[in-house]
Symmetry: C4
């Protein structure tokens, strides 16, 4: 661990953000409310968005963990990039609730909600790439990395970042597509390793963080 | 401790979820409100649900702690199971507030609220069993465990998971039963040990985590 | 430190509870609202309650820290007492907002709000005494403590716990008294040491935690 | 690290406070709402305030981290100063939402909102100076510091604290100035080092925390 407090603070922000998502799940129990079962059916975008965003932030945590485990030390610029990452992550409860609220209405509002959601995911992906870039280019890693290996890692991370805006843009045609694509992306990044393996790596251990 | 950050993140999520429960305790002080004493009596399901859910999450923390203390290392699949556990735990503030809001009304809404509450508890129980399964079957424990011992532990955990949906189903006949059963379950799991004892175990230490 | 995760979880809950207090500071900016300056003056009980409760929880953290630093190990019963303590602490944002909302109205509502606030403080004080009792009576401390020293510590802690309900009862005559008394108690416990000093203690170090 | 739990608790409070800021980003999706795009444009002060306050708290964390890393030990007075710092930091979500809500209206409300925002920043700056003062004057640092070096550090920190109220006062003439000045201050403190360098310092490492 390069810097216990950087990780502790990031863990705290990610833990609060992932738990705040639940505040959007609210049913109406005031006089004249629809039946609970009917409300649950009616609010499906809120539950779908909750599920997708929960795993998005969960996977961000898993990968943040894996990336920072590679660092031997942390500098101020990396701290700033980490703040940028957290900034985008903390917008996820907001863009998720906006998506949940406007998705069913369709029209330009649903498209704008999809763009907003894609923006927070894209910003998050870019910040992740900046962190990797800083680690690789400023020699903050625990072990030397060849230029070819570094380029390969940056390319793969960078390409990954492009999938988020692409998913949002395709969502302009059919908004629910974005939710589905983001869910698949979360599943992909759950399985996918960080491109640079730790020094003490050997087969099975590569999966261990 | 197998992985400090896995535990730190889980602690964070559990701490936020257990504290967010209090957001459902709100009294009305706007003009024309009922007296405070009357409101307190009127909101008893909110206070009962708060108490039960607080100890549910508290006991989840105690057992999460005990289970992870057995792990020598953590793999990606276990991280995913842990996320599943946290997903169900973070729904508890929502299913608790739903139960509190709809329990008194009775009828199909109270029954649906009970089912919803039972669902989050059942999902949590299943995720716990998955974590234990992974630890036992993939050799992630700190000490070797015989097949017989592993089967016994999985059976006991698995049976425990069945009590949650059973409590919810019985609650369909009389909704408050679910709250009472969940309170008793929390009390039971507070006393009950993790089935597999740590390697450095000896009498008194078994109680120590 | 007896158990890193017990302290991490408690720190998390205390940090969330102390920060949630701010959610009660809300001004009205909808059409036809009173001027900001007027609202600030009008909401003084909210600000006073915020300040007092912030330091209450802050001091609870300082003393929780000092108490747990004495423990060599932690058992399940102590974990349960710790959960009890956290239960009462997490009610503080609720009892604080209730006090803030009903204090100005006076009458029986103000008195009930004072009793409710006193209840969460008394419960917290009792839970603290239980933790100290468990540490002392079950030999969980880092160094042996004489029976006389243990009795003195328990007596002082126990007496402290009585001051909370007393402050609430006097508040029935003049509700703002409770806020003032609680503020003074927080100030007292900020200065006051834990009755049992750590083993490595020497003059100056006694103040250090 | 002088005291793991002081930092863990502070990290928790800062993480919750920085994440709670997002609760102010809410759009209206009830019947008859304005279009999402229009609402986003209409709420620009909320987004600008979110951004500025996020980096304010982020930079507070970075500097809190750097300052506490200098401490060899922590005493009760320093804990109290730290609580004071956290008190002011936890008011930032409130003063930020107040600024966001009243900035556009202009008039005395916008000026009062600017003063309130400036107050929480000034209080935070003063608390930071108190922590530095305590560390320097009571010999809590990891290495001896000459009187000249200590005075220089205190002077620079103290002058920094004056910029916050100055920014708020100038904001009385044109309220948005305060937001801009606070953003510039956050950027400045992101780059600026803590005045006293750690003992193990050497060129590049000075940037590392």
């Amino acid at each position: 661990m390069a810097d216990g407090r950087l990780e502790a603070f990031s863990d705290g922000v990610l833990a609060v953000a992932i738990t705040l998502l639940v505040l959007d799940l609210r049913l109406d129990s005031t006089a004249g409310h629809a039946s609970l079962a009917h409300q649950l059916g009616d609010h499906w975008p809120a539950f779908a968005a909750y599920l997708v965003s929960f795993f998005q932030i969960g996977v961000i945590w898993v990968n943040h963990h894996a990336l920072l485990a590679l660092a031997a030390r942390v500098d101020r610029v990396l701290m700033f990039y980490n703040l940028l990452l957290l900034l985008w992550v903390t917008t996820i409860p907001f863009t998720t609730s906006t998506l949940a609220a406007f998705l069913r209405g369709g029209g330009s509002d649903a498209r704008d909600a999809v763009l907003l959601y894609g923006l927070s995911m894209t910003g998050m992906g870019v910040a992740f790439s900046l962190i990797l870039w800083r680690l690789v280019r400023h020699n903050l890693l625990r072990r030397p990395v060849s230029r070819a290996e570094a380029n390969r890692a940056l390319l793969r991370f960078g390409l990954g970042s492009l999938v988020y805006p692409a998913s949002a843009l395709i969502g302009l045609l059919w908004p629910p597509f974005t939710l589905i694509a983001m869910a698949l992306l979360a599943a992909y990044y759950m399985i996918e390793h960080t491109p640079i393996l730790p020094a003490y790596d050997d087969g099975a251990a590569a999966v261990v963080l």
